[in-house]
């Protein structure tokens, strides 16, 4: 019998009705007994230096203002970045601690008032003068610091074989430099926090992807006992990495609440978010490829140059795609950074692969043309049989099949190979392809479940659902394994009081938290079977073929309700814990999800306007836990890929270390009308090494390649290769007929 909540079924989001009816409480919506005061961030307007004078008197006298918190009266904090030996998500995020300005937008005051309007108005009355210091605001090819490690613990440099020699000996070579701009995560829900402090305990309602580190960072920053801090984040309106670590308004809300011992709410205005939450740094990527005359890659070289925010150890592994997608005799991948005085640079959806693939899959396309080969055929001819960067075997490898299946479904054979071969009226038409890979990660996770004598199951974990569907797929895992209807399963997430989980990020959430839940459910099954074995009436039952269906333990022709078994345990409920942690499967195997993406674009020959006409992706990400939420994840990444290829760019004004387009009128994301028909296909193949569920990461998969497919289609349409993203019409115009 098929359970509509079985793993894989396209179960509607269990939290959907709450969200569409407004009943899901996002961070800023938590109702306290007393309405919180409201804080507004006053931002520094210089990139670096010190506060020379700060006059808050007019703001303090403004209507409704309760306090103007500055470094002069803020509660004690640990210096920014301490302790040294911890990771960036738990090191102190001190602000309003001294007169030092770390970057443009860095908070210099928090105006706290009775209403948002009063706080915002008074913020404009705070007068600050500065002593500017020379600031470094731009990084490009001059980046020359070698980071200790890259995000995810990867080595800054990887060298296999003799690159220079292989490249020097190659029949066909390519040496090109691509660039990608600063980019914002632009989550729908701005970063928001309500903090409440009673002199002993600190409660923080916020929007954060990783709950455990959020507790620790507050403990470190504010010198509090972590046991006295409760962080709640049950619903999150998108994070995309910008909410991995705790962000500025959360620290400020806590400072305000501790200072006043009254609850304080701080919601970042959209303009704040661009500087008071992390962004993705710009990249320069030099790519050198060498191939034999018949199109076999012999040398792959990737040099990445990016900014790194001062005192903040994040370096993006931009070379990730170059390291593992294709076979090669020699590989050289290096990352260099330059310390800059601009706001925090951190993970943004698919760090490494997203912008790495944008450049690398474009360069691969260039190489295919240079070798006179079809871009799909060229890729297929260079499939690796082991991970080129580590030499490890792949846990599974399905890229070639994704490419073949995608090409067939897309109608790739209808495409003329030469650029600028297709026209429709005044529109130049082009077709592009890109390979997609994304590393698969498993993170230690625990959970606790309780089956009550009324048949209901609750699972607790400090996991988060950032809009991806975590509540839903966890419901399905429990319902499937224990044979319960979805309505009897309740998933409780987003609370630091719950067992430590992986949190959301790096596409590891579903596989990791789901595997911990699976473990708990399997243990519960054992417990239930043990209870059943003790029953006289089931003595002769077929325990070998035990199944869990319809709320019952089924033993051949006998069955017993789970509620009955709970009662027989002598308790009101049964509780077990489950866990998962990465083991040797992740040491032994190189693990990735795969995909192939295809795009058709038109380019207006008069104006250079690029519009995507259709996209198609074939993806292989192990076992699919919910076909509907998985599709939504992939769709979102493909849409974002279109944005990365054509639209997104945070414009940095070097003079001020500030982004100038800090709203959604000018920071362009794709809108509905930019999104054509998007077709998504799964090649469902459980991976026996990835995790006990056989699933693999999916959240960051499609963004790793979607943009390059679009960019390659633009080239095919026009014969123009734009190497500085985004491909806006001004970069095409002069080359058009």
């Amino acid at each position: 019998m098929t359970n509509s909540a079985s793993i894989g079924q396209p179960l509607d989001r269990v939290d959907g009705p709450l969200k569409v009816s407004g009943a899901a409480t996002y961070a800023a919506e938590h109702q306290l007994d007393h309405a919180p005061l409201v804080g507004w961030i006053v931002e520094a307007t210089i990139p670096t230096g010190r506060i020379k004078a700060l006059d808050t008197s007019a703001a303090e006298n403004s209507a409704g203002v309760v306090a103007v918190l500055t470094h002069r009266d803020s509660p004690a904090q640990t210096p920014f970045g301490e302790p040294d030996d911890e990771g960036r998500f738990t090191q102190s995020r001190a602000m309003l601690r001294d007169d030092r300005i770390r970057y443009h937008g860095f908070p210099v005051a928090l105006v706290i008032a009775d209403t948002l309007a009063n706080a915002r108005h008074a913020a404009g009355l705070v007068e600050v003068s500065y002593e500017s210091e020379p600031a470094v605001t731009v990084a490009g090819e001059d980046a020359d610091e070698k980071p200790d490690e890259l995000d995810g613990g990867l080595d800054a440099d990887v060298s296999r074989g003799d690159f220079e020699r292989a490249y020097g000996d190659a029949d066909v070579t390519l040496d090109v430099t691509y660039s990608t701009p600063n980019q914002a995560a632009a989550a729908m829900e701005p970063h928001a926090t309500i903090a409440e402090y009673d002199g002993e305990e600190l409660w923080v309602y916020t929007s954060v992807q990783l709950i455990g580190p959020a507790v620790q960072v507050l403990a470190n920053t504010l010198n509090l006992d972590p046991d006295k801090i409760r962080v709640l984040s049950p619903y999150i309106g998108g994070g995309f990495g910008s909410k991995l670590g705790l962000h500025n308004e959360a620290v400020l809300a806590c400072l305000g609440a501790m200072h006043l011992e009254r609850p304080v709410k701080v919601v970042q205005h959209r303009r704040h978010v661009f500087h008071n939450a992390p962004h993705r740094g710009n990249s320069v990527q030099r790519i050198r490829l060498g191939a034999s005359r018949d199109g076999k890659l012999q040398a792959i070289g990737h040099d990445s140059f990016m900014p790194r925010a001062r005192d903040y150890a994040f370096a993006e592994p931009t070379g990730a795609s170059a390291r593992t997608t294709y076979r090669t005799d020699a590989l050289l991948s290096r990352h260099r950074v330059k310390t800059v005085d601009i706001s925090l640079i951190d993970s943004c959806r698919a760090p490494g692969h997203s912008i790495g693939s944008l450049a690398f899959e474009s360069a691969i396309d260039e190489m295919a043309y240079r070798c006179g080969q079809d871009p799909v055929a060229f890729r297929l001819a260079n499939m690796p049989d082991k991970d080129p960067s580590s030499g490890k075997p792949f846990s599974s490898h399905d890229l070639a099949e994704c490419l073949r299946e995608g090409a067939a479904k897309f109608g790739w054979d209808q495409r003329e190979s030469a650029p600028r071969s297709h026209e429709r009226g005044r529109q130049l038409v082009g077709y592009g392809v890109a390979s997609t890979i994304r590393i698969n990660i498993l993170v230690k996770s625990t959970t606790r479940i309780r089956l009550s004598d009324d048949g209901s199951l609750i699972a607790w974990a400090n996991m988060t659902d950032i809009g991806t569907g975590t509540y839903t797929i966890l419901t399905q895992i429990a319902a499937d394994i224990l044979g319960l209807p979805a309505g009897q399963v309740q998933i409780e997430l987003g609370d630091s009081a719950y067992p430590a989980s992986c949190g959301s990020g790096g596409s590891f959430g579903a596989g990791s938290s789901g595997s911990a839940l699976r473990d708990a459910c399997m243990k519960l099954r054992e417990k239930l079977v043990d209870i059943a074995r003790k029953q006289e009436s089931l003595k002769s039952a077929d325990f070998d073929g035990a199944r869990f269906e319809r709320g019952k333990l089924v033993l051949g022709d006998k069955e017993v309700p789970l509620t009955e078994l709970v009662r027989q345990s002598g308790h009101d409920y049964l509780e077990v814990e489950g866990k998962v942690e990465p083991g040797e499967e992740h040491e032994k195997y190189s693990q990735h999800s795969y995909g192939a993406q295809f795009a058709e674009v038109t380019v207006d020959r008069d104006t250079g306007e690029v519009r995507v006409q259709r996209m198609l992706g074939v993806f292989s990400a192990g076992r699919i836990l919910n076909h509907k939420t998985a599709r939504s994840q992939l769709l979102g990444g493909m849409v974002w890929g279109i944005s990365y290829a054509l639209l997104e760019e945070l414009m940095l004004d070097e003079r001020y270390g500030a982004f100038v387009n800090r709203d959604f009128a000018e920071y362009h994301l794709a809108v509905n009308r930019d999104i054509p028909e998007v077709e998504i296909h799964f090649r469902e193949q459980p991976d026996s090494h990835s995790n006990p569920l056989g699933s693999k990461g999916i959240g960051e998969l499609s963004i790793s390649g979607a943009g390059a497919a679009v960019a390659n289609a633009v080239y095919h349409a026009t014969g123009v290769r734009v190497r500085n993203f985004p491909i806006t019409l001004d970069k095409l115009l002069e080359h058009l007929p």
């Binding site: 931002e43 307007t45 209507a63 309007a117 915002r120 108005h121 404009g124 005044r426 008069d606 104006t607 250079g608 306007e609 519009r611 054509l646 639209l647 414009m651 004004d653 003079r655 001020y656 500030a658 100038v660 387009n661 800090r662 709203d663 009128a665 000018e666 362009h668 794709a670 809108v671 509905n672 009308r673 930019d674 806006t728 019409l729 001004d730 115009l733 002069e734």
Partner: protein
């Protein structure tokens, strides 16, 4: 937002004669309220005119149309008369903003949108429009969306309206009521001004002067085309837009009207191009010549240099399409 007084106006006669510099009229509020939140606009008093009886579209004299100032952008774009006889206006309106904004935005308010510039919206940066004499952040900064025609060293911002571009091409006129109750009329073309030494003033309106409505004269013959070139398909301001009405007879330009958007501090009527085309053969070569005449004085500021060739190419494309269409419809 700076605290302000709010007064609901039931009839225009209730507007004080001293409604002056420190007052602003509130209609749809789609631009003004945003600017007030940023304290870029800080009126001491808001006169809410949204309930005035000025939301009608009526037939005017000699085949024209009288549009009340409170007619929404959606209402005007979807009016059957406008769609049939002034399709340039309808398509320009529908190219602007989003459906939600068009439902709220009014005809008078659309005309009075402030010009666009990143630095105007960022109160931490210098802007002569916001604070006369402070300097211009855009001149040596990011100016991809900025003006190529009629700018000054004081200001290179662009007027964002699509609707106004169509109205300027259509020789529409605004009806104005001064605070003292007297009335006057102006071509829409003369409503907005170039920045010169006073970029703080976007229009020639006097303090307290209210737009009562817009009069559209009967449309000239010919094909109407509004072409908006932008980075994404919707919800983006024009990099360059062209509104044109072209009538071709026997292969020659009988009449032509052209206006540009996104290139100047005001909707830009391309009278030099019109003149160059009058009576000439409707050929690609002549379209190019006309574009070059109009753009002879155009200058870029780095980031917006591309707008000069873009304006040329877009104008030629629009005229080409319009010529083909009028030739086809005239046997």
């Amino acid at each position: 937002m700076k605290p302000f007084d709010y007064q609901r106006i039931g009839a225009v006669e209730e507007i004080d004669a001293d409604a002056g510099e420190r007052s602003s009229f509130l209609a749809g509020g789609t631009n003004l309220v945003d600017l007030m939140k940023h304290e870029i606009e800080t009126p001491e008093r808001l006169l809410d005119i949204s309930r005035l009886e000025l939301a009608q579209i009526e037939d005017g004299d000699q085949g024209g149309l009288r549009v009340g100032t409170l007619v929404t952008n959606t209402g005007l774009a979807s009016d059957a008369r406008v769609r049939e006889r002034w399709p340039l206006l309808s398509s320009a309106l529908l190219a602007g903003a989003t459906a939600q904004l068009r439902n709220r935005a009014t005809t008078g308010g659309n005309l009075l949108q402030r010009t666009r510039c990143y630095y105007f919206y960022d109160t931490a940066r210098p802007c002569n429009k916001r604070e006369p004499g402070e300097g211009c952040g855009a001149l040596a900064g990011h100016n991809r969306i900025h003006a190529i025609l009629g700018a000054s060293e004081q200001c290179i911002a662009t007027h964002p309206s699509d609707m106004a571009v169509a109205m300027v091409a259509l020789d529409a006129r605004v009806r104005l009521r001064a605070a003292d109750g007297s009335q006057r009329e102006l071509p829409v073309e003369e409503l907005h001004r170039l920045p010169g030494d006073h970029p703080e003033r976007d229009t020639v309106l006097q303090p307290g002067e209210l737009i009562l409505g817009v009069d559209l004269p009967a449309p000239p013959p010919g094909r109407h085309i509004y072409r908006k070139v932008r980075d994404r398909s919707s919800y983006a301001f024009a990099l360059v837009s062209v509104g044109a009405i072209l009538h071709v007879a026997d292969g020659k330009v009988g009449s032509v009207r052209i206006a540009f958007g996104g290139v100047a501090h005001k909707p830009w009527r391309a009278r030099k191009a019109e003149q160059a085309l009058q009576g000439q053969a409707a050929t690609e070569e002549n379209f190019l010549k006309a574009a070059d005449v109009e753009l002879a004085d155009a200058r870029g500021y780095g980031g917006n240099d591309f707008k000069i060739p873009l304006a040329r190419r877009t104008l030629v494309a629009v005229l080409r399409d319009a010529a083909r269409a009028t030739e086809e419809s005239t046997p």
